[in-house]
Each structure stands twice: as C-alpha cells, then as structure tokens.
Subunit: 213 residues, 2 copies
DNA sequence: TTCGCTTTTTGTGTATACGCTTTGAGCTAG
DNA sequence: CTAGCTCAAAGCGTATACACAAAAAGCGAA
C-alpha cells in the first residue's frame, strides 16, 4: 500500500471519527511527521481531503478541518435525496432482480438484537446494499456523487447516537426499497427512498438536538 | 499562479478540446517536460484530473485520457437531470427573485444573430445563469456535483457541432426556467429544466450520429 | 503604552535525487 | 519458429533540499 493512501486513510478516519475536530489546522510538516511519511505523499493525501470537502482553506496558506453542523447535515440530505432517489429509479429499471431480491430477504430476516454489535452488522448490510445500487446504476457520474455524500455522511452518523428503534425501522425501510427495486417498481423505490431519508434525517437531527441541550 | 494550477488548466483544456485524445497515455515526466514544470506540480495536476474522471488508470502504473462516447453522454445527462432539476427547485425556493428576473429578461432579449460569435455569447450567458443557480442553491454538495458534470459537459459540447436553431431554442428554454425561478415556481422550474435537458441531449446525440455516419 | 517597522521563523511550492517495480526487448533453448 | 527467461531501461513513489512568501515576534520611536 502506498504511503499517500495510508496517510489519506488515517486522516479520513480521524476526521470522520472526530479525533481531528473541525477547525484543527492541518499542516503538511506536522501531519507528515505524526504519521511517519514524508511531505510528498502527505501533500497528496491532504489534496484529496480538500477535494472531498473535509479540509478547507482558512486563509491562503493554512488548511483546517471543515466544520460540520446541523445546517450542513440538512444540505447533505437535500443532495442525498436527489442522488439516491435517482439511483433507486435507475436500479429498479436496470438492476438484476435476483440481487435485490436477496437483499430484500436479508433485510426482512435481519432482526437486530439488543447488543453492542448490532450497529456494525446493520452498517455492513447497508454497505452491501450501497454496493449493489452502485453496480446497478452503472453511472460513474452519479455513483461518484453518492460516494462523496457517503464520506460526509460518516461524520453525521458520528454526531448522532445509534438508536435501536431507529435501526429496526431503517432495516424495514431498506427491505421495502430493495423489494421495490427487485420488482422493477421505480416509483415505489424512489418514494420509499424519500421516506427513508426523511426519517433518517429527522432521527439524526433529533439525536443531535437532544445530545447538545 | 501556481505551477500546478497552470499544469491542471492546460491539461484540462487540452482534454476538453480533444487535443489530448481519449486513450492518450499521460506520463508524469513527459507532460512535466512538455509544459515546463517539474514532476511535483504535474503530479498534483494529474491527481486532480483523475479525481475529476478525465484521466483513468489503464493498468497499475499507466494513466490514460478517459474515453467519452455517446453512452457516456447519456449517463452524463442522466445524472445532470437529477442534479439540475433539484437545483432548479431549490433555486425557486431560495433564490433572489430579482437576480433570476434579470436573467429571464436577458434570455428573452437575446436574439442570437447568425454570426461567428453567437455561440460564445450564448455560453457566456449560460455561465452567468449557472453561477446564479450555484449561489441560490447554497448547497456545497450539490454544487460540487454540478461542477463535475460541467467539466465533462465541455467534452460533449465539443463532440456536437453548435447548431443555430438549437441555440435559439435553448435561449428560450432558459428564459422559461429563469422566469419560473424568479416566480418561485419550483415545479415549473424543475419540469422546464427536464424538458431543456431532453432537447439538449437529443440535439447532441443527433449531431454526433450525423457527424460520424 | 501603543503603533509601526524590521527581522526572523515557519511553512508552503517547486525541483530533484534515489530506489524499486514493472515492462519490454533481446537472447537462448526447446 | 516459438516460448520463456534474463537483463536493461523507463517511470512511478518517496524523500529531501532549496527558494520564496507570509506571519509573527521583537525592537524602537513617538
């Protein structure tokens, strides 16, 4: 693995996880020394983070970790609704039915237990679903936009506490979306996606407002 | 201006203009020598082009200019419809009415003459319109996605010959979109955008199929 | 004490050297 | 004649040195 990839992965994880808080200055020499790489690969890693929107210019020469608040989450979901509703429609039209039928069954049979690992298992299943959507959509432009959204979504998930009831409901919502795609019902898939994202956003914003009274 | 920015701008223009044809290998040392910069800024420029999707990995070590054919244009417009319909809705809800009213008048009063410069004047007006949309949308995620689309759209425009009738029709379509946004009519703006993109895509694909018989 | 100027320092932008991997060409053996 | 192996060369990934610019700190004068 390349040093620039390791540096990028490390910084990405730290920003998504909140270890590097918004406003933290990201200096080439400082981060390069900390992560044990030279300036050249670190420079490339930082460039990618800037392109992602996770790091921004504070002034001409100083880079900082981007802020991320409730207003950003609203905008994120605004874009996400657009992208994922379109993706759901395209997947319904083009996706392989058996793939999404299998996913629908996986969601229908998933009964999240009260336990520490439930959220991990949930996110792993979501990840499989996302990959299936990406393949079915078969549109690099749209898939690229959705990947960028997911990068930022990881920050939103961290701000919101995982809530068991929400997880159970979300699994059911995904079952409906997957079933609609398997059935080739584009409108149902799009509207189910809209509803899912509505509840997801509401839940996240509720969680944040309650977490910071 | 930084050397990496100049290198990026030069390569971008050459790829968009077809000077660097799809499949052309993009080597660091070769391009650096050609454009008179060292490998370090050239590396950054190429990295940005890869992130844009204009350059892709052919094998592990060799980068080439991405291909761009009719199928890609279809996919491009598929994504573009999604992004720009959403943007039109948001602009209608949030945009400053006077800005789009002024743009509507500019489009309504624009009477493209038969002349060499008409296409340039048309694209300049479109550019003003795009900038107004970006500001009204006020959503970095969506705006970023649209900017990427525009980068690729420049390649599509080059493949299609500018057609006078199409330009006149397009100006009228934009007038309707701008008027709808100025009036705060989100649905009309979105549907007018859909229609505009339908005609734009049809025109481009027609132009290509006729240009390569 | 405060404002302004000068000097120093820190960090980015660029160039370049070095090492390793990969690819291609040429030679040899079957 | 073909296939495989070896060697060479070209290119990428990384490290580092140098230059320039901006910001901060220190000093001096009002």
């Amino acid at each position: 693995m390349r040093a620039s990839d390791r540096a990028y992965a490390s910084l990405l994880e730290e920003i998504q996880g909140g270890v590097l808080a918004p406003g933290t200055v990201v200096g080439e020499v400082e981060q390069a020394a900390r992560l044990g790489v030279s300036r050249t690969p670190m420079r490339e890693a930082i460039g990618r983070l800037v392109a992602d929107g996770l790091v921004r210019h504070q002034s001409a020469r100083v880079l900082v970790v981007s802020g991320f608040d409730a207003a950003d989450i609203r905008r994120l979901f605004e874009a996400r609704r657009s992208f994922e509703e379109t993706a759901a429609r395209l997947a319904a039209a083009r996706g392989e039915s058996v793939v999404f039928a299998a996913l629908a069954i996986a969601f229908e049979q998933a009964h999240p237990e009260h336990g520490i690992l439930e959220a991990d298992a949930y996110y792993a299943l979501i990840s499989r679903f996302d990959a299936a959507i990406d393949e079915a959509v078969d549109n690099a432009y749209l898939v690229h936009a959705m990947r960028t959204i997911r990068t930022h979504l990881a920050r939103a998930r961290r701000l919101a506490r995982d809530n068991h009831e929400r997880l159970v409901a979300s699994v059911a919502e995904h079952a409906l979306i997957a079933r609609a795609i398997a059935d080739g019902d584009a409108e149902l898939a799009a509207h189910a996606t809209h509803i899912h994202l509505h509840y997801a956003l509401t839940s996240i914003l509720d969680s944040i407002s309650k977490g910071h009274p």
